[in-house]
Assembly symmetry: C2
DNA sequence: AGGCAACCGGAATCCAAGATTCCACTTATC
DNA sequence: GATAAGTGGAATCTTGGATTCCGGTTGCCT
């Protein structure tokens, strides 16, 4: 592969990551191309189609994400604050969509990407474990689960263009509100 | 207007309300037509375009909504439970999208619909008042506002097709989680 | 019953937004 | 300098609706 080509490949994946993070998983190819300072044609010479490109972004990102979760769970005093820190990290500007899109959405795209699926599953399992611990510690209410966490992460980050502007601008704020609602002490007894 | 035509008009608005409630504000005309047991052409004979139809649904619904808020605030012991009841009502299956779409989204469609705008504004003001009271009572945290409430209502009900299935199936559950997070007692101090 | 304007259904048409393809033109590399 | 790898981006193809049109029906009045 020619040197300039390799360079472009890098710019493309990086640009795709950025654009996906801010415009959601359905960001148009052209937006990515423009961000990378490259023609659409160039994207297609390297990736057979849109899905392949997104998947590549995933491969590139899933590691970072797994690592962030790991860090959060290692540097936090308890499971609850690990979750809190991680969610804050995941919703930070500049990475929003990625974090979660990859964790919940693309079941079709994933087939045949054993490596990606493996890390993703490990990651989810680790988060689940944190939830379990937080509940055992009595800091998280027992009537919610990892799935809720993932769904919400998904809701607030996957389709920024469908969200009210203020929400899209700071999904973290709303996610933290959700987390506050997930604290054991916040639970409103059923039928209230 | 011929009798059968009037009958159809009714079926159309009712069908539109249902479909919008379950598929979001962007439900396709054809879906509405089918639900009403009528051809698309018929929709267009009565309404110049899509927006007009949606607006009609709004007129038909905003009253119900205003009334629900009124009831909630009159039958509840305190401002907080009024809010709680109203949100639960608004997110109930079968009315989801309507409730909120009309409260936040369509600023362009509303021009020239003085009556609709008036009721809508009154309605929002009333909800705002409840929020103020709840905060004064010390039951709702002071760092959130009506806007947050409206945005979230919006997020969880306007585009059901973009939400993870479990969330779309029961937006109320997640909204109540949010409300729990909005309780004064749930607030996590900034910088935690 | 007869006539006709008001109505209908829904296929045909129009559009917008993106994905994907293609190829004449550049540029690393040897 | 030759040439295969690489490039930009206009042209083309798809998709998902909105909107238009018109031959065929019906209510309703006399």
């Amino acid at each position: 592969m020619r040197a300039d080509a390799r360079r472009n490949l890098g710019k493309i994946v990086a640009a795709a990551a950025e654009v996906v993070a801010e415009r959601g998983v359905n960001a148009p190819m052209e937006a990515i191309a423009k961000r990378a300072g490259v023609g659409v044609g160039t994207l297609y010479r390297r990736f057979p189609d849109r899905d392949a490109l997104i998947a590549a972004v995933g491969d590139h990102y899933i590691h970072t994400m797994a690592q962030a979760l790991d860090t959060a769970s290692r540097t936090s005093a308890d499971a609850w604050s690990a979750i809190w820190d991680f969610v804050s990290w995941a919703a930070a500007p500049g990475r929003a969509a990625l974090s979660t899109a990859l964790a919940v959405l693309p079941e079709e795209v994933i087939v045949e990407r054993a490596e990606f699926a493996r890390i993703r599953d490990e990651w989810v399992a680790q988060l689940a474990e944190l939830v379990r611990r937080a509940q055992a510690e009595g800091s998280m209410r027992p009537d919610v689960g990892v799935d809720d966490l993932l769904h919400l992460l998904n809701v607030f980050t996957c389709h920024p263009d469908k969200l009210p502007a203020p929400v899209a601008a700071d999904p973290g704020r709303y996610l933290r509100l959700m987390l506050d609602g997930m604290k054991a002490s916040a639970a409103t007894p059923a039928g209230a």
